[in-house]
Structure formats: structure tokens, C-alpha cells
């Protein structure tokens, strides 16, 4: 069928060629679609009734399974996204802003019509492991199944059992508010073909049981890579296992690298300090704020000491990298004369900051963090500093730090220019060697609120 059987004038052969080309193109597109669809169905579970009952039959004591699921839901911080502010627990309705529009979290309570009441453990497992909903729709990776894919079937079943033990809340899921083409299932299928593969956690037998447990929690339910890795232009994590840090989209915070000595690298920490930070929100070296304060408040403070020890062991053993900002950062400030901006900042520091953070940036132990030698101060990306000065905040209230001290907001007190000056001062004083902060750096955070 490649040639027309009827003799034609010279010029008439061209449409046939175009047709051939189009047919070939259509074939390629069809093949690509088949490939994409095939890639989207990898490692899918059997949803048949026998398979469902088989897993249910194998389930351990139901009460223990529910309790385990409750614990795992905290480890995964499911509630943070699946509960609207002031809304019923796990009933969804919270808007998660992404660079592509808003994703609305879904109702996880066992209401039959609006929640997951009709979901079998196999449906739930397919959502966690494969990122597909009960009705077959592909799920948006704002739900971090790119991490949750690593969890075991037993843990998925426990989560399912726990969610089914909750009071059913009738609350219909709100539609997502994504822009074209991100709102189409076809685009999502292509994204998944490129960036998602269902995975099963493989224990590393050369490592200890604790390291493996830590790896399972950090890579899987903990979904630490959702923030602590950078994303490409299509929102896919680059090197999610590396935890090399990155900007948190839309929230305008920077999740520091857990592997870089100049950011939040932990290699020289004592494991007890990592545990303290995750459990109490404060440790000898640091305290948490912003999105990590939420993680500690809602998730990690509730983890068992065994699991926290395991996470610490895993994080301690992460291969250390040298962040690019170390190579490019300026010489220590002691070696440079202070700029007029920094001098103005020093005056503001005397008026506004010195009472708590000290004249040498030494802070006050167990109340106010030192600024001298503080890696959160000298991060090359000043986003977190600007956020903290503009909007203030408390460390999370935890059993180990039940009555935290607060940092006042300065958004109504200091101008962008003033905040840039005071931050430039503290980033260059007392041996700190980080670069200046511009009025623009401050303004973009003020505008973003």
C-alpha cells in the first residue's frame, strides 16, 4: 500500500509520501503511547476478589494492625496534607500549591461515597505502590508515591486498616486546580513514564538492621526527598536518594542538603543530636523552623526511639558531598572590610537583635540560637533567614521542648532594605563568611505571602 497502483502525474506522488510519513508518525505515536501506558502499569497488583481476601486472611491481629497503621500514618505525616485547616482529620480538602497549580488532597476516611470506604487493601496498595487510584486514574505525585512506592505491602495494609478504623466523614473531594497541560491524564502518564518506576525496598545485607530500617523510613514513608532534593523543570526529584537539598516549591523555604558540610550535613554530628532534633525540634547544634517544624510537630516527635536511632544511623552514613556554594563562597568576612550595608545592619542588630542573639552572635543556650558559626545563617540561599526574620516563629512544642521560645516577626517593623542590611551583617560577622542579602531577596518573600 506504499505506492498508488494508478499511474499518476509526477507531482501527484507527493501526497502518497506525506501519507506514508503521517502513517509512520502515527505508528510512532501509537507505539509511544503503548510504551507510556505499559510503563504506567508496571508491577501492578492483582485486584481480583481472591487476591483481596488472600491478603486479608493473612492479616495479623486486627487491633495490632490498626495500631501499627496509626503509627505509620504519623511516620508518613499523612494528616498534614490530608486534613484541611480546622477540618475533620484525614477528610482531605487541603490545597497543595505546586508550580503547575493547586492539587487538592483527598478524603482518606472510610466514607463509602466520598472517602476510601470502598477501597480494598489491594486498591490502597496500588495507590501507595503504583500511584493509581481505585477508579484507575493516575495520581499526581504531589502525593509522594515516588517515595511511598518503597513501603512494604504489610505496612500498606496496616495503613489501610487504620484509615478504615477512623470515623467516616462525608466530604466530597474538591477538583484539582491545575493548568493545562498538567491537568491531563495523558501528560501525567508521560511524566510517570519518564520519572516514576514502582520500587520495592531492597535491604542492603552489608549494612546493619538499624541502617536498613532507617533507609526504609527516610526513603519511603518519611518521604524526606520530597523537600531535601532539588527538582527538575517538570517537578521530578533529581537524585532523591542523595538528599542534597533544594528549594521547596511554592513555600519559599530552602531544604538544606543533608550531605553537605556547609549546609545541614550530619556526618560530624553525634547520632544523639540527630535524634534530639527529630524528636524535640532542638539539639545542641540546631533547631528546626518552617516546614521542618511542622514535620517534627506532626510526625517525627511521635516516632519510637528505635526508629529515630535507625534514621540517625542512616543519615549519619549518607555519603558526604561538597556543595557548590563552598567553592564559590566569598572569603571569610574577617578578611574583608564591612560594606556600608553591613555597617547599617550592625546598627540595626544592636537595636533589634542583640538582646537575644548576643553581641558576638553567641545566642543564649537552650533559648536563642547562636548566629556565629550557624550553618542556617550562612546557607548560600538566604530564603530561610529572610522567612524567619519576616515572620518569626516558634520551634515546635514537643515533649522534650514543651515551651519553646519565640522569635518575633519583623515584617511590620523593618523594611526590606533594613532586613537585607541586618542579614548581610550577621552573614559576615563573627567569622561567618556568607554573601550579602539584597533588598530584592527580602522583597520576593514579602510579596509571596
Amino acid at each position: 500500500m506504499s505506492e498508488s497502483p494508478v499511474p499518476m502525474r509526477h507531482g501527484a506522488r507527493l501526497p502518497a509520501r506525506i501519507l506514508i510519513g503521517l502513517a509512520a508518525l502515527a505508528g510512532v505515536v501509537a507505539l509511544a503511547a503503548v510504551l507510556v501506558w505499559h510503563l504506567n502499569l508496571r508491577d501492578e497488583p492483582d485486584l481480583s476478589a481472591e487476591a483481596v481476601s488472600a491478603t486479608q486472611g493473612a492479616a495479623p491481629d486486627h487491633a495490632a494492625q490498626v495500631a501499627r497503621g496509626a503509627y505509620l500514618a504519623q511516620a508518613g505525616n499523612c494528616m498534614a496534607c490530608h486534613t484541611a485547616r480546622g477540618g475533620a482529620a484525614f477528610a482531605g480538602g487541603r490545597r497543595i500549591d505546586t508550580p503547575y497549580g493547586g492539587v487538592m488532597s483527598s478524603n482518606l476516611t472510610p466514607d463509602a461515597d466520598t472517602g476510601i470506604g470502598r477501597w480494598t487493601p489491594a486498591h490502597f496498595w496500588r495507590a501507595m505502590h503504583n500511584g493509581r487510584s481505585r477508579d484507575g486514574r493516575l495520581l499526581y505525585p504531589a502525593f509522594p508515591y515516588t517515595s511511598f512506592t518503597q513501603i512494604t505491602r504489610a505496612d500498606s495494609d496496616a495503613l489501610h486498616a487504620y484509615l478504615h478504623s477512623l470515623p467516616a466523614v462525608r466530604q466530597a473531594n474538591a477538583p484539582h486546580d491545575l493548568r493545562w497541560p498538567y491537568d491531563s491524564q495523558a501528560a501525567l502518564a508521560v511524566w510517570r513514564a519518564l520519572y516514576f518506576k514502582p520500587e520495592r525496598f531492597e535491604a542492603d545485607t552489608a549494612r546493619s538492621a538499624a541502617w536498613n530500617r532507617g533507609a526504609y523510613l527516610v526513603r519511603g514513608l518519611g518521604h524526606c526527598a520530597a523537600c531535601h532534593s532539588s527538582r527538575n523543570a517538570l517537578g521530578a526529584s533529581i537524585d532523591p536518594l542523595g538528599l542534597a537539598g533544594g528549594p521547596i516549591p511554592m513555600q519559599n523555604w530552602y531544604a538544606p542538603s543533608l550531605t553537605s558540610p556547609s549546609e545541614a550535613g550530619l556526618a560530624h554530628w553525634d547520632a544523639r543530636d540527630i535524634v534530639a532534633l527529630l524528636r524535640d525540634g532542638v539539639s545542641r547544634h540546631a533547631s528546626v523552623s518552617g516546614p521542618m517544624a511542622e514535620v517534627v510537630a506532626r510526625s517525627t516527635q511521635h516516632l519510637s526511639s528505635q526508629d529515630l536511632d535507625a534514621m540517625a544511623e542512616y543519615l549519619l552514613a549518607l555519603p558526604q558531598t561538597v556543595a557548590p556554594n563552598v567553592a564559590t563562597s566569598a572569603a571569610p568576612a574577617a578578611a574583608r572590610p564591612a560594606s556600608p550595608q553591613a555597617l547599617r545592619g550592625a546598627k540595626l542588630y544592636e537595636q533589634q537583635c542583640v538582646h537575644c542573639h548576643g553581641d558576638q552572635g553567641q545566642g543564649i543556650a537552650s533559648a536563642y540560637p547562636a548566629l556565629a558559626g550557624n550553618r542556617a545563617v550562612t546557607l548560600s540561599n538566604p530564603a530561610n533567614l529572610v522567612q524567619i526574620v519576616l515572620y518569626g516563629g516558634f520551634a515546635p512544642a514537643t515533649a522534650g521542648n514543651p515551651r519553646p521560645y519565640g522569635m518575633p516577626p519583623f515584617v511590620t517593623v523593618l523594611s526590606d532594605d533594613d532586613i537585607a542590611a541586618v542579614l548581610t551583617h550577621i552573614r559576615g560577622a563573627w567569622g561567618n563568611g556568607a554573601g550579602a542579602v539584597s533588598e530584592f531577596d527580602v522583597n520576593r518573600h514579602r510579596q509571596a505571602r
Binding site: 537575644c356 520551634a395 514543651p402
Partner: protein
């Protein structure tokens, strides 16, 4: 000598102005809540601009419920929400009790010129309500002296007019909410904007009485059911 340097330090602190005064660090609830007093004024006596209200001396249960309202989205102010979000209910209650326990002087009443007709209308609504519209008077729930009623109803005197009219307006438009049944929502929705402004104007012009504490909890039912007042008793 020591006394002299203390006196000098105190004098310098006064000269530096109340907002600049920095007592030495101590492990106290006042120190822990400097993030609150940065806007709400020293000891929670109110910010200078009429926007950040007084906290000192308000009923603890009222303050506690406002903290929860900001956390749970019934009141909207992003700075407040961010501050209270990571804190436990135990700690929020401790903070509320601390500010409730403070007894600091009130500002003088507003001396801004006001329309006499508005003052008359505001006074009538505050003291007598409007029985024809089944509107209770402010004094029926906020205390005969309008300094609040335990356990959870705030005082209305010693507050700036702008703050009062902003809150009444926010209630009318449902920007500010309380636990259901939301009695203030019902009341403000029956009032015109002119009436809301009249009440705010009259309240802001009243001097604070000598006894500034909230009245004892009522023994008879309130004229309207208020979800926040009911919950506070639990």
C-alpha cells in the same frame, strides 16, 4: 554604688522607650512570649497602631479560643497562624493564662470627635439592645461594666475604635468566626454598617472602670447561645 547603677540602668531603660527596653534574659513565660509582645505591646497592653489588640487581663478562655481559632482557620491573620501552628494546646493555654493574669494600665478612652447621633445609637445598642429585633445588649453577655464575663467573653472597653469596628465588620462578613452557634455572627448580621460603627464609636469613647476584671460567670442562661462560651466551660 550598685543601687546607683541599677537606678541608672532603670533610667536609661525608660529613656530608651518601652519598646526598646530589654530586661536581662530570664527563663520566664514573659521571655518565651516575646514573639507575642513584639506586636501586642509590652505585657500585652496593645500595639501602638490600634491594630494589635490588648491581651492583658482578658479572660484566659477567651484568649485560648482565639489562639485555636487562628490555628483552625476561624480567624485569619497569617502571622498569627504561623506562630501558633507548631505549638501544643497545653502551651497555648499557658500563654493565654499568662496574658490573662497581667494587670497593666489601660489607655485613656478615645477623645476623637464623634457624631452625637452615632454615640446615642451606639449607647442604646450597647446598654439596651433592640428588643424589637430581638437583639441583646452588649452588657448582657460582656458584663454590666463591659469588662467581660468569665469564662470566655472578652471585655469591650479600652480597645481602639478601629479594632472594634474591624472585628464587628469581620464577623458580619464571616471573616471572623467562632464555634457554632456563632452568636456574634448572628448579631452583626442583623446590624447595619452604620450601627456597627456607632457601637464601636461609643465603646471606644468610654472610660475603663476602676475595677477592670471580668465579671463572674453567669448563673442564668445568656440571651443567646454562644458555642465558644459553652465550650470554655467544659
Amino acid at each position: 554604688m550598685k543601687l546607683f547603677s541599677c537606678a541608672l540602668a532603670a533610667l536609661l531603660a525608660v529613656l530608651a522607650g518601652a519598646s526598646q527596653a530589654a530586661p536581662p534574659f530570664e527563663d520566664s513565660i514573659a521571655q518565651r512570649t516575646l514573639a507575642c509582645t513584639a506586636c501586642h505591646g509590652s505585657q500585652g497592653r496593645a500595639g501602638p497602631d490600634g491594630y494589635y489588640p490588648r491581651l492583658a487581663g482578658k479572660p484566659a478562655q477567651y484568649l485560648y479560643h482565639q489562639l485555636l481559632n487562628f490555628r483552625d482557620g476561624r480567624r485569619h491573620y497569617d502571622l498569627m497562624t504561623r506562630l501558633v501552628d507548631p505549638l501544643s494546646e497545653d502551651y497555648l493555654l499557658e500563654i493565654a493564662r499568662y496574658f490573662s493574669s497581667l494587670d497593666v494600665p489601660y489607655p485613656p478612652p478615645s477623645s476623637a470627635p464623634a457624631d452625637p447621633a452615632a454615640l446615642r445609637s451606639g449607647e442604646a445598642l450597647a446598654l439596651r439592645g433592640d428588643p424589637q429585633r430581638r437583639l441583646p445588649a452588649c452588657v448582657q453577655c460582656h458584663g454590666q461594666t463591659l469588662m467581660g464575663m468569665l469564662p470566655a467573653t472578652p471585655g469591650l472597653l479600652g480597645l481602639p475604635r478601629d479594632y472594634l469596628s474591624a472585628q464587628l465588620g469581620a464577623w458580619k462578613t464571616q471573616q471572623r468566626r467562632a464555634h457554632a452557634p456563632d452568636c456574634m455572627a448572628r448579631i452583626t448580621q442583623q446590624l447595619s454598617l452604620a450601627e456597627l460603627n456607632a457601637v464601636a464609636t461609643w465603646l471606644a469613647a468610654q472610660p475603663v472602670p476602676a475595677h477592670t476584671r471580668a465579671a463572674a460567670a453567669p448563673t442564668a442562661p445568656l440571651p443567646l447561645e454562644c458555642g465558644s462560651a459553652t465550650r470554655a466551660g467544659q
